[in-house]
Amino acid sequence: MLKAGFIGFGRMGITHYSILNSHPSVKIAAIADTSKTMRGLLAKYLEVDTFTDYQQMIQKHALDFVVISTPTDSHADVISFAIDHNLHVFAEKPLAMTPVESERLVERIGKKPLVNQVGYVNRFNEVFMEVKRLLHAGAIGEIKNFSSEMYGATVLKGSNSTWRSKRSLGGGCMYEFASHCLDLVVYLLGQPERVAGSVLKSIYSSHVEDMVTSTLIYPNGISGTINVNWSDETYRKPANIVTVFGTRGKIVADKHAYKIFLKDDLAYEGFHQGWNTRYITEFAHPVRFYVRGNEFTRQLDYFVDAILEEQSDNISGFSQAHKTDLLMSSIVADFQKSASTKISGQFIANSTRGSEPNLTLWQKIIKRIGD
């Protein structure tokens, strides 16, 4: 039986507790949370030890692992302490406030045989898992272009009352929403090399961004965009939409279904030429215990299995999450530089002054993007 401690008991902590409390190999021994009200409730209704201070909890209980669902600004300290006490760690996303912090966490784990996982739950969604498999099997040929979008109706008016509206605590659309959208890109296509044309914009919030857009460029010629908006009332629940274009087809996916378009006549895994739609109902597998979505259970059961099987190479490990932290900070840096091109018509005027357009210049430009 693995002994678990929880640090942070807000919305995500509660969900994780419900899922793990019913796990046959897990005993949740203690919960640390800064809210006195929450601790009072927990002490009254649950058979767990409660703490204000997570350090005391870790020192007092001989835990096997911790589940960390505190605001992001505390992650570096809390996770470091857990690693130093040789605990396996499941931490909510994003991993840390900066890529420097998250890199230190990766280094701190070093060669310790500790399972480390970050709550990028889309990696456990069966549609996105299937899309990754298809992309890597070459189903749509050589990948050229993509878009990764995430929309939700999370912030529909100005508010400053929780950590989500404060950048210094890890709030804002970038950390909360875009992190998922970017992680999905890293999961499906790997880490980009450059970012360009990034824009962070507020719609309602006074201290954080409500929208993030950017262009991601890979060394192998893939490029694509992200478009993230957490103030979009048209979505009942937060939604991710991924479109990937390849030389032989295209895939459009969300959490519930994907569509694949194949150019060729060759049947591929039962798909025919043209559009093929696959709904999650056709290939989803049930889970041990369902709360909020299959993927939430699947990610935690995967984490527990990794501990039991001493498997520290994790599909959503710290080193993966570090890549997303790097991307987020690069997008912010790109936006701060605000390098952009003013619309002027100068290029066209120069290149078409003679009778022929300047083809050499075009070729150079296309090649640069393609490289």
Binding site: G10, R11, I14, T15, Y17, S18, I19, N21, S22, S35, K36, T37, M38, G40, L41, K44, Y45, L46, A153, T154, V155, L156, S159, S161, T162, R164, S165, T234, R236, K237, A239, I241, D254, K255, H256, A257, Y279, I280, T281, E282, A284, P286, V287, R288, F289, Y290, V291, R292
Partner: protein, 291 residues
Amino acid sequence: MLDRVIFGDNQFFGINHMSEEKAQALSEKFKDLQSITYVIDIAYDCGIRAFMLNSHEKSREICDHFRRNPTRYNDLVLYPSIPYAHKYANSVSEKGIFGTLKDTILADNTFADVTSLISKGGSVLFERDMIKVMQMLVDIEMKIFRDLNIKVLFLQNIVTDLMLGFGVKDVFIEFAKHLKEAHGIEPGFVTMNMPKLVDFLLDCGIDNPVVCSAINKAGYFMNPDQASYENALKEKPFRPIAMSILASGAVKPEEAVAYINRQPTIKSVVFGASSRQHIQHTKDLIEGLDH
């Protein structure tokens, strides 16, 4: 006696578990009260009298419409479900969990005796008596359905399953007791984990509980697996209501009903549709179970 056929409400709120595109199309189709009551009336004309209705904001208008037309809907039977969790989700992001609970209770004028306690001490009540808080929230949610004929009031799966994971029996026992004693209404539970929930409710001493869960040929939304569902249906003393029998469209109505037919303890089926042809056809198929 539960109604054999209960008309589902997901489509009215733009909910579709299979496709976001379909969900958006539904929310456009059911953009106003008229488009919703039009379909309810079709179902009514097909002979359906039992309707599920979630405490979604839109349901206020729907229930007002029922109350305004008592002759038309005099034998209407409601199977409401509470809460509409997404209504609270954004507020939780903005104000936190306790902030949301506090504001929800303060916004209601029913609880003069406790509101001063909450506004003064803030959190005292939450620590001292979460059961009382739960009862107040139930009463607030139920106001939408006032004066209508309620057969069973369901706790939505997002809350049922979250609390099932916590395993706090008092919450379930007191919820059931509150509905029966304060409102004279039968409690029901919607779940995505039917076998586990049924065992738990029986352990809580809730006799012959009404449990609504997905039961379909595709095994969709049946956790941990279809076989455990079939066993529970065969062996446990509870009143099962089947929903998602079409698995959001993955199973054809004939096959769906044939599968339900093989589980003889299922007495009641929830289904949603929006065209007259589909409603009549599916209803006839389900009622064919009797023959």
